[in-house]
Subunit: 145 residues, 4 copies
């Protein structure tokens, strides 16, 4: 992988409904934020994820990990970074960082496989997405092409 | 309508994730509980709602109302009643009551129309569901048939 | 009420997790969006809602209504307007409109009472919030004062 | 650890709101189900988790992992097993398995630390919970005592 994959940054305003009775954001919501950040990152490839679905493919989640360092609170606006941490022909890994200013609140990973929607079968990176995703992983591909 | 439509009762254990920082269940979750109770009620017609979707129809929500009287708390198990409050050829209304023991915590209504999934067009009650839903609305239909 | 209460407008990017298997945003999420829009509106009074809670009060939801006209989809960015539709000494009603461009997707209302957090008792509009909320309801109050 | 920690089993009926437009349960909901299963397991220690909070402590989530093998669908009732996979004086790890009949749909882990609610500081297992949690980890403690 490139030492510097493309990073997207997404601002998220904490919603009251996302808090729980501990007074912080419930931990499951970080996965929803990661997905929002992943959507933004995909857009930087030139394809909104809904366009990827329109092509007939899903990026199915096969695993996730989150490490929570500090709680997030209602009234805060956070930043979520997302980048492509690993890109193989059939499997991708995205990484995430949730920040409040310079403080890192949480980090995470999600793993995905490509699925052909019609058949439900696993597949390789769909042809129209190969170069766009390669550029997310290794921006210098752009310079070489 | 019959004075005594069929009532389903569904037990719901409050989930921690459903609470918010006020220390009670966030008000949006009642709509999710209503849907769970509506699923149970549909089952009493002889069709699980996923079977209704398999027939090619959706019961699309067009309106909802909730009145909240008392908060619900993590650690409580509640009962949700649902019944068919109004049944017309193209439009249904379900009613709901959320209870903790004998205390009523909330009441609500949802309105729905039938939609043909393939075309996205509104339609009348699908033929195979007419009698089953009529029986939910007026149990005595059963005795008459 | 003033014919022209202050309106806040909040952009919301539809999240994948907000969709359901009908392929549209699940109807319960509109209440979450209304809350986000209400937070924005409160901010226009000079108080973020978390500051209102810090003063020792909650705006507890006692009722809600939503009318759904058209579905919202993943990949869309919507606008939610919120305004104070009714302001009494002990009870408020907010109104909402969800739009995709010029199309109205949904409208709604929520009713609230003031609660003193420490005692859990209903109360009148907290003194520091009276003028700020009156200005939301009737902007001309500003000109008169 | 004991080779056979106490296992709780919790039945979960998939809610329509838990599905997304892929037609399966959205992956974030598994964390909510894990929490429900963890609540059940805590109850087997003799303390409902809300009683643990009443004692003045939180079991704060510091990390989670999920592996997703197969999708879950609306209309299915699943079983979630939870058990205490690791118990140290300041840190716990719970493990989970989500099944549909004999098929394993997902497995997961969550890590937690004890927090004193009043101060927000990390602490050791609260004294009243030491023996009950030790019994969850190693049922034979019971026989020995």
């Amino acid at each position: 992988m490139s030492p510097n994959p493309v990073r997207s940054t997404t601002a998220v305003e904490v919603r009251y409904a996302e808090t729980d009775q501990m007074g912080v954001v419930h931990h499951a919501n970080y996965l929803v934020w990661f997905e929002l950040a992943r959507t933004r990152l995909c857009t930087l490839s030139g394809f909104h994820y809904h366009q990827i679905e329109d092509l007939g493919y899903h990026l199915m989640v096969t695993a996730c990990q989150v490490e929570y360092r500090r709680g997030a609170h209602y009234g805060e606006t956070l930043e979520i970074d997302a980048w492509l941490a690993d890109l193989a022909s059939r499997r991708l890994r995205f990484a995430y960082e949730v920040r409040r200013g310079v403080e890192v609140l949480a980090t995470g990973l999600t793993e995905h496989v490509w699925v052909e929607a019609a058949s439900g079968r696993l597949c390789r990176t769909p042809e129209p997405l190969r170069e766009p995703f390669a550029r997310l992983a290794t921006p210098s591909v752009d310079a070489l092409s």
